[in-house]
Symmetry: C2
Subunit: 935 residues, 2 copies
């Protein structure tokens, strides 16, 4: 279950709740349980989706449109609710209503249900408001028994067809209604086994080669199996069959898989499913019959062309089974020209009517076309963007509708490198899949396993890459190795672990927390189950699904990133392509959204990427990431090892020009856009090595005794580093660090202003403030340094001083803190950790279960927790504004790139969200949707 999925379903739920007034009214009043359709009309229509389910509502709608739909009736979701509530009882009036609907259906079809001479056969299907795997799907050919099968044979003039239909019905009914499954120790269910036995006896390979007699024999065998396994005879009475199937559909609403799916998707259990009973039409009645599925536009690319496939003389399940290869829909023009022309007409009509791309199912019975289903078609991100934009250009929908049509997360597909789809499919079925972790950094990567960051760099330098860095967990020391790698894989840590955070910011593919991996650094190998992979072996990661594959898999950049950042990126995109559509959609988003969108970036190249993706500034520049490069880490370590303020200041003086250069690079890249720079945040021990060998080597380099270095590391050790001596607590204890950083920022800003003529706009952000006075002290240092630098440089740049709100106490005392803060930036990663009392790094042991058991509605580190963290944010916003009306408010936690959280930020009235560069487009679209939804 991806977050995307979850979110989408939650949105669905919310919308359903929001717009459910009609249903509620129906519920309150409705005494009607059964809705008939057919003969060019219907009791219901598509507005009754909540009552009739998606399938039922659309069948009714198609009838109302005058389209050829086999007649039938829908038993409403309210009956399901009653059935569930009473433990299996139906409303008193139901039987009568079903009888009436059935009579109507018989009349319409001019057949009799259970009539041996001219039997009416029906399909029975479930159909909830939203498509739900896990529920009972379909029983076909219901109404057949030892008498009616003969009528069907006579009427169709095809005995084999009739017995094949009967064989299928008994098998299906026994499976899904009577639940006769493979017993313990059996490899197959008893029906498949019997079928195989007959085929073997006859020496044939395909079902189609069995004779009518073979099938008759099978039906008898199947019925014996049913009697033996259930203790009861297979029901011969069609009415009994029908009620059995209806009960099975309603009962399946409460089966384990359905419950699990609902919980994962946030679907309320009181929605219930409807039951659709539809007259059978047959695509397998001979060469002039057939069946197929189609889309009104290409669901992969979004291209405007009728797209689909079909099989003549086949039932729907044959298309799915893959025994015969279906043909492209265009060929139908030859196979069944009249039906094809009608289908073309209908698909156009349906798309125009629904104003969206449709997914259709049809059957041709003896040359006559029947529509079995229509619904909004699933599509790739590419197709979603292109279809939405095209439909606006075709004046089918408005710009606003187009914006609401595209799932923000799906933009990921447009931006990330991808595996070759056919190779990927082969790898999946070919047993190359190793395990699955968290899809922490989307995209596809393939490279050689390296287990140490330094080695990752070396291999790439020596041209022995590409490499995938594999670690139990990563730390800031690994940054350069992560940069060198094409992908990052960890066996521990969640969606917001260090690896995941940094990878997303770098735009690296990342699979995190693959718990089945056993990594052995010493032996330079890792095990997954019984497989062992050595350092140097090839591995492939799908960061969009979390899958891990052994060996190499070809990847390619997406069209959009190729265009935005590849060669010739300045050239205008081809009109009508996905790139053109993407850019159009982004333009519309920008016009609609109120929230600003910034990025979290620490390096000039990240800034450029983010600007390419439309970032309007930096919302979080983590200065410590800069500290790990080359000379800088030496100076940082020298500073940490200092025993006196004087020593520390000497080390900081060495660091100053290096850090200033960092900031100059960023200011140059960002021009006059605001750049929020956070002063040093992590505890100092993060900058020191921890393993014996490296410590000894470092001690030698630094010219101190290993004992002293070990002692320093020991003295800096913390039991709970997350809650330790970090953030502004460092700046308060060692004001000289803040002073150096402020100096580097302002000197860098002045230098760039002089060189380029464009004034940078630094916003200095003090982290982990929990008391007003902390900020007051740090603010004074920053402002004093600023004035000093401006005086010396004879130049001023505009700047702000503000704070992160990332501790509950900061939110609770925001009124006071705002006295010293020109802006608040909600650091919702840490705020979530402290509000919940959960360490992201350690949460892997219980959060997945918590989400599964619905203890948390969603992983609070992925989607902002509104009632806890959100309430603190509300307090901070209200009190902060009361104290300083024009305070600038933003968010820079990972939630800044999560659409649901962005919606909450819009409702709170924040000024901007900030997220990793590759999520900027997603945030722009999500912000636009939030603005539209809040109207």
């Amino acid at each position: 279950m991806t977050m995307l999925h979850q979110r989408r379903n939650k949105t669905a739920r919310k919308k359903a709740k929001g717009k459910g007034s009609k249903t509620s009214r129906n519920r309150a009043r409705s005494t009607k349980h059964v809705y008939s359709f057919g003969d060019g009309g219907a009791d219901g229509d598509r507005t009754l989706r909540n009552l009739l389910g998606g399938k039922g509502a659309n069948l009714a709608e198609m009838c109302n449109l005058g389209l050829p739909v086999p007649p039938g009736f829908t038993i409403s979701t309210e009956v399901c609710a009653a059935f569930t509530a009473t433990g299996g009882e139906y409303p008193a009036a139901l039987a009568k209503e079903v009888d009436a609907a059935l009579a109507k259906l018989e009349a319409s079809m001019d057949k009799g249900f259970g009539d041996p001479a001219n039997p009416l056969l029906v399909s029975v299907r479930s159909g909830a408001r939203v498509s739900m795997p896990g529920m009972m799907d379909t029983v076909l050919n219901l109404g057949l028994n030892d008498d009616t099968v003969r009528g069907l044979a006579e009427r169709s003039g095809n005995e084999r067809f009739a017995w094949d239909a009967y064989r299928r019905f008994v098998q299906m009914y026994a499976d899904v209604v009577l639940e006769v499954k493979a017993a313990e120790g059996e490899h197959f269910d008893p029906f498949s086994s019997a079928l195989e036995a007959v085929k073997k006896r006859r020496g044939v390979e395909n079902d189609t080669e069995l004779s009518a007699d073979d099938l008759r024999g099978l039906v008898a065998t199947f019925k014996k199996v049913v009697k033996a396994r259930t203790g009861r005879a297979f029901p011969e009475d069609p009415i009994e069959q029908l009620w059995g199937a209806i009960g099975a559909v309603f009962g399946s609403w409460q089966n384990e898989r359905a419950i699990t799916y609902r919980q994962m998707s946030g679907i309320p259990s009181d929605w219930g499913t409807a039951v659709n009973v539809v007259a059978m039409v047959f695509g397998n009645m001979g060469p002039s019959s057939g069946t197929g599925v189609a889309f009104t536009r290409d669901p992969a690319t979004g291209e405007k062309r009728f797209y689909g496939e079909y099989l003549m003389n086949a039932q729907g399940e044959d298309v799915v089974a893959g025994i015969r290869t279906p043909r492209a829909i265009e060929a139908l023009e030859k196979s069944s020209p009249k039906a094809y022309r009608e289908l073309l007409r209908i698909q156009k009509k349906l798309e125009r009517h629904y104003r969206d791309m449709q997914d259709l199912e049809f059957t041709i019975e003896d040359g006559r076309l029947f529509m079995l289903q229509c619904r909004a078609g699933k599509r790739t991100g590419f197709a979603a963007v292109r279809i939405a934009v095209d439909m606006v250009r075709e004046r089918l929908i408005t710009k606003e509708e187009a914006l609401l049509r595209v799932e923000p997360e799906s933009l990921n597909q447009l931006l990330q490198p991808i595996f070759d789809p056919s190779e990927l499919a082969k790898a999946r079925t070919g047993g190359r899949i190793l395990t699955k972790g968290l899809n922490a950094g989307p995209g596809a990567a393939t490279g050689r396993i390296v287990l140490e960051a330094r080695r990752a760099e070396e291999w790439v330098e020596k041209g022995e890459g590409p490499v995938v860095l594999v670690r139990i967990e990563t730390s800031p020391e690994d940054i350069r190795g992560m940069q060198a790698a094409v992908g990052i894989l960890t066996s521990r840590g969640g969606m917001t672990s260090h690896a995941a955070l940094v990878a997303r910011q770098m735009g690296k593919v990342c699979v995190a927390g693959a718990g089945e991996l056993e990594i052995d650094y010493a032996k330079r190998r890792m095990k997954v189950g019984k497989k062992t992979l050595k350092e140097g072996d090839w591995i492939s990661l799908d960061g969009s699904t979390g899958e891990l594959f052994a060996g190499e898999l070809a990847t390619r950049p997406s069209e959009v990133t190729a265009a935005l950042f590849g060669k010739g990126r300045k050239s205008k995109p081809k009109k009508g392509g996905v790139l053109d559509a993407y850019q159009q959609l982004m333009k519309w988003s920008d016009a609609v959204r109120r929230l600003g969108v910034r990025t979290n970036a620490d390096q000039p190249d990240q800034c450029e990427t983010a600007i390419g993706f439309g970032a309007e500034g930096i919302g979080l520049c983590r200065t410590e990431h800069m500290f790990f490069e080359g000379e800088k880490i030496d100076a940082v370590r020298e500073m940490i090892m200092s025993d006196t303020t004087a020593e520390r200041e000497r080390a900081l003086a060495r660091l100053l020009p290096l850090q200033r250069k960092d900031f100059e690079g960023i200011f140059k890249a960002m021009g006059s856009r605001p750049v929020t720079i956070r002063t040093l945040d992590p505890p100092l021990h993060e900058f020191l090595p921890h393993d014996d060998k490296t410590v000894k080597a470092l001690a030698k380099d630094m010219g101190v005794s290993p004992a002293r270095l070990f002692a320093k590391i020991e003295s800096l050790h913390e039991l709970n580093p997350m809650l330790g001596h970090r953030g502004c607590r460092l700046g308060v204890t060692y004001p000289e660090i803040t002073r150096m950083q402020a100096r580097a920022i302002f000197e860098g800003a002045c230098n760039v202003a002089k060189r380029t003529g464009v004034k940078p706009r630094p916003e200095i952000m003090i982290p982990l403030v929990g008391a007003k006075r902390e900020l007051e002290l740090q603010e004074k240092i920053v402002r004093d340094v600023a004035e000093e630098v401006f005086a010396k440089k004879k130049l001023r740049v505009p700047y702000l001083v503000g704070t992160m709100i990332e501790l509950p106490r900061a939110a609770l005392t925001a009124g006071e803190i705002a006295e010293h803060a020109e802006f608040f930036s909600f650091g919702t990663n840490d705020l979530t950790q402290t509000t919940f009392g959960i360490s992201r790094d350690d949460a892997g042991k219980f959060i997945p279960q918590y989400v599964e058991d619905e203890i948390y509605a969603a992983d609070p580190f992925a989607s902002l927790d509104r009632s806890g963290v959100g309430r603190l944010m509300e307090i901070a916003v209200t009190d902060g504004r009361a104290s300083r009306a024009d305070i600038k408010l933003g968010i820079c936690g990972e939630h800044g790139g999560d659409p649901s959280s962005i919606e909450f930020c819009e409702n709170l009235g924040l000024d901007y969200v900030s997220c990793s560069p590759y999520r900027v487009p997603i945030a722009r679209l999500a912000a636009a949707q939030a603005a539209l939804n809040s109207k």
Copy 2:
């Protein structure tokens, strides 16, 4: 600075603010800056303490009472405020007012200021609202110069006396007003050096042996030094002298020591000091003169007897200097019978007037008594209790006043073992003090150093104790060693570290976080500075001050604990003793307080102690502490090592009877009092050893491979265990643990009910709840088990299910959580940690500086943070009550024993507080005070 001190001063500040309306009114209107007193009347009185300072107000008050006070005048604190604000300027009218007051003083004394024939001499002293070390104290004999000294000699008929006075004046004035101090490289200030030189030259040992000529020579030498060091001549003009001294007093309000003291004590800098100018009277004018200090009751024991000491022919400083031994006050009856009788009369009058024990300073000049100061006398905890109770019995004060008179913290003295005071004083001055840590567990302990918990047990068993357990920090594994030791000493950790918490609960003496200790487990020794102490050496801890002494110091139990828990504890206390007074005070407290007082206890013996101290129930029984004993830890480890639920259940089945027995012991001890039992809270890795040797030994014991045990320990390792897999998260992941604990509780309760006929009242508390559903799941387990046990035992006991509120999210969603909670208990330790984002264990690196720099008003782990943590509590109380009106509310964090926090709990309307057994009496008194103050 102790917390007690801080609190007291904060209360003072608050009261001052609260009752400051009169002062503010005075401020707004007052044009009067100088207040005269003398001749049986005064401009001011004691209600003007804010304006006149403590000393000035009391001098005025004594004059109004008609007592013999040398006349003088007070320059108000407002002048100090103006002086500070303007950087040293006085209000325009001041000079005139001072002139007038001086003239009045001259008239009253019939002497002239600067009159060579009959000179008026004055003392100049500072005097703020509260006594404040660090400010300029006193200049005596001001008004002397080369002319007036002669007049003084003549008038007194004692030339040596006059020159001695002059010598003292020049020395004092040069020191405190002109600030001529020892220069760099000098061991003594130049005046002391010159004095010593003369004494050496004269071959004498005491100042008193110097002649008038010697002194005259010294005055000349002193003046030369002043000229040389300051570049200016010593001021001869008495008026210049006076303004110099006034300026020095006002200036000293802003000196570094004074500022530091104010910050530590929470005294606002705008209070300012007053200046008192008082006519000199001389106790050193001959054998019929003298000086002394006295208390209206014994400040050590509280006994009702006039208590004090005096010296004839001496000035106040001689009493302090300790060269001559002062005599007990009773002897004054012989030395100066008239003065003694008057003093007796006055002390009675003053005590009755002020309705409190008074601290007096007096001088007898030639047989005539003068009162120089009176103020409420400082007293020990013993005295405070006894005096308060006695005064009620004497009908001097009401019971309510008595309750408000005793600092709750001071009760500690009555309950803890103490060092022999004279030995302690010797140890302090004799260089035996090693270092100072945090006074984490009050009392005195002396024993042999042991560096390992297991060895501590062994030594005590072998009779080689008493031992002091010394650890870098303690962990739950050390519990039995802690129990065996008489005291606990750690080099790391704060006031609420594991060591501190457990020690206080056990009533053990504890000094925590003595950072100067370097403990070397391997070499079995520790270093403090250059001293090395080996295991087995004797050491003494004063847990009330945090001091550490080398060697043995005799201790003894306090009278109260000896009486409560020693032999013959049933016998009625001696009427009038401290024990009687203590019990009386507690009785009054109980009658007045609204808050219930419970205790945090895990063992039957702790329960008995707590009941002895008046606990009304258990507010927190930590079940995990029970897990470390003998067989239990084996079963716990077996449970942790289990790979499957079935294995875990087997291990839990072994644990069940052991844990049931634990609960039976507690229920028996507590009778029908409520017992709040917290289900398992700490992360599982706390129960596994971490050092190589112990792990290997344990693996052998458990019959598993060391590799497997190491792997388990590694898999349980957490980066931030405080925020990890603990609390109810364990119970949610492993419901069988909660089930076992619930079973042990209810079976134990039923067994005890059957055996004793008294029904226990368990209250099952689920820890670390952050989401309603966590509690819902755990509640169901508890209630299901309860019903099952009750059915089997054919007996019900009353019980509640509730939760700790110890995470911000719990407070923020308390409305929902209350749907499943019959009670909330605020776990303010963890709530403070998460609200501030501070780990108690790691906070030692910055919290002390934070408190010193006033970033935090107080250590939030010692005194509840009202604006952050308190605001969350308010939210939880409001929302919890809205959801469940009769929800029971308590607090079980360490704050439950802190008087200021108890006051907050009273205001919040909680039902009870719970604290460690030895703090129960403190909490009872504090709760009574809170109830009185809230009226």
